[in-house]
Symmetry: C2
């Protein structure tokens, strides 16, 4: 069921379809549009997704799972996180409907859908699976520092904050590298990346002693690729998530980093007391932290200029390049050719 081939997804967004509230849904539509047959969202039913999130032209939005059945869906993907962590009653009904109609469930929620007795029984009765993508595999070892011994070029995205474009940048680098004939692999480390790719480990959901071990396993299992484009998490100076960021940095032992940043963001998202740090501080800190485990350099800057005009975004890019002496781009507006140029210098 985890296969990304021949899947026909219904995405549950239930009134929260917007660029910030439905990161998972938006990303699945961006990168797997051909897999998406419908969205279930009573508030937005009848609308065109493109009018709300700028992408997804032609995907129908309906009110119930029942209305999608003629499209022969194979799975219901939960495309949003519930407020407060608990599953609202009306969402439960959609999951029950999906299971009764023999759709698999794909969920990135912190609470595991497969731990719910009703859902588990229904999945069993209707012979479908519940894929909690955040549930880590059982066999994650402790980190050993061995990722640095692999011959593959390991490029990790890092950021000045969470939710700033690290996954998108890593996917775009993978796709552009592949177009150039490089044998590249996207390495998913978060729930949305795993849903897109079909494999990976949600490093924020492993036991904390095993963060580096999880990152290392992801690298060692893919060491035959020329290039691994590894999805970063959080930021090294985040009051809540920095541990995950650092474990991922040391476990994956990258030779190069791409630093992701949103120019319009002045403080950490949801943490207004904490200002976003200047590039020189962040670059020095990431490089000095990596150094003792595996020397690496920041190779370029990915700017998330969402909401800015192309003209303003270009000005920001030029300013960033002048300040950091590194190539900069907005991956969505202008692509990542500059970053892949910079990365390619490190290929054997």
């Amino acid at each position: 069921m985890n296969s990304i081939h021949n899947r026909r997804l219904v995405i549950l967004t239930e009134g929260r379809l917007d660029v910030f509230g439905a990161k998972t849904a938006v990303s699945i539509i961006r990168y797997c549009k051909e897999d998406v047959v419908a969205l279930v969202d009573r508030v937005n039913a009848g609308k065109n997704p493109e009018s709300i999130i700028g992408i997804g032209e032609g995907i129908p939005i309906v009110s119930t799972v029942g209305e999608t059945l003629h499209l022969k869906p194979t799975a219901l993907l939960i495309g949003i996180a519930p407020p407060g962590g608990m599953l609202p009653a009306e969402w439960r009904k959609h999951i029950v409907d999906a299971l009764k109609n023999r759709l698999h469930i794909i969920s990135g929620l912190h609470c595991h859908v497969s731990d719910d007795p009703e859902f588990r029984q229904l999945a069993h009765d209707h012979q479908v699976e519940i894929w909690d993508v955040r549930k880590p595999p059982e066999d994650i070892p402790l980190g050993t520092g061995k990722a640095k011994e692999t011959k593959t070029l390991r490029i990790l995205t890092v950021g000045s904050d969470c939710n700033i474009g690290k996954m998108v940048t890593s996917i775009e680098i993978t796709n552009t590298a592949k177009k150039r004939g490089i044998n590249a692999c996207f390495v998913a480390t978060g729930q949305t990346g795993i849903m897109i790719d079909g494999s990976g480990i949600a490093v924020d959901h492993v036991i904390s002693d095993f963060i580096s071990g999880a990152a290392e396993k992801l690298v060692l299992d893919r060491a035959h690729y020329e290039l691994l484009s590894i999805e970063g998490q959080g930021t090294i100076v985040h009051p809540a998530y920095s541990g995950v960021t650092l474990g991922l940095l040391h476990g994956s032992a990258p030779q190069g980093l791409i630093l992701c940043h949103q120019p319009t963001r002045k403080t950490l998202r949801h943490f207004n007391d904490f200002p976003i740090l200047p590039f020189p501080y962040l670059i020095e800190l990431y490089e000095k932290l990596a150094q003792p485990v595996h020397p690496c350099r920041v190779l370029g800057i990915a700017l998330n200029c969402f909401g800015m005009s192309d003209h303003d975004a270009l000005q920001e890019i030029l300013k960033t390049e002048k300040e950091t002496k590194l190539p900069a781009t907005d991956p969505i507006k202008f692509g990542v050719d500059k970053l892949v140029d910079s990365i390619s210098f490190l290929l054997p």
Copy 2:
């Protein structure tokens, strides 16, 4: 059962009683000697613990749990913390014996003893409890950055490696501060510290998204103390455990750090490819990492001069003070008065 009062402990060390192999046992004997009625260790049975580990004079070492019963023990404490945390197979029999004789089990292993069906059934049948001290509480929230708003003085031990004296230093600081009339509290963040203190959270065993949240909760729950002496974990440049170290640093938001180091150690323990870093590199890195969440300074150096003569240890301390311009001591050989002097300057 978690109470540290009126407990009579049998410690299982089973052939591994030495200063490095039985860190938990040695620390319990050091700080809770009055609680320990016997050690179970077939290889060392009949010997005096003091001849092996330098402390524990008079505690009998026997071969089986059965031989301790006349001493009226209340619990069997598993006295090792091996890398990976798995339970050696030959120890199962001792646990079974203990449960059948109505002893509680106290374990700091990564694998939960209470998850084992045989042990769980025996505990139920004999009405005793299994305390897996590494099992985190269910109610750990995400980090919010609020620890820095507490008025308590928060002092965290950090290190140049794992297993280098952070817990001992934090306990010694607590005890010395109390003797001076400071309302101080040791904050346990690892299994041995929790066994000694009776409370705490093993931050290396929480889901990685919640490391900072766990550290923050430990501080917020104890914010009425004048001084919190917080047990550190790992090191910021460790290929396996750095994530835990950083989450703890940001979650507990200390105003001051004590850097722990072992002069005779040249590479990370169990990781011979990774050299121990020089003081200036480590001090700058810890301070720059902490700065954006809560500014703090390294206030002193705790040297673990195990195996060195007092004369050589003193020379090392003088050298360290000259190099770092910070007070240095060996907490076990010479006490921590110098460190508490330095810390006291920050008390309100």
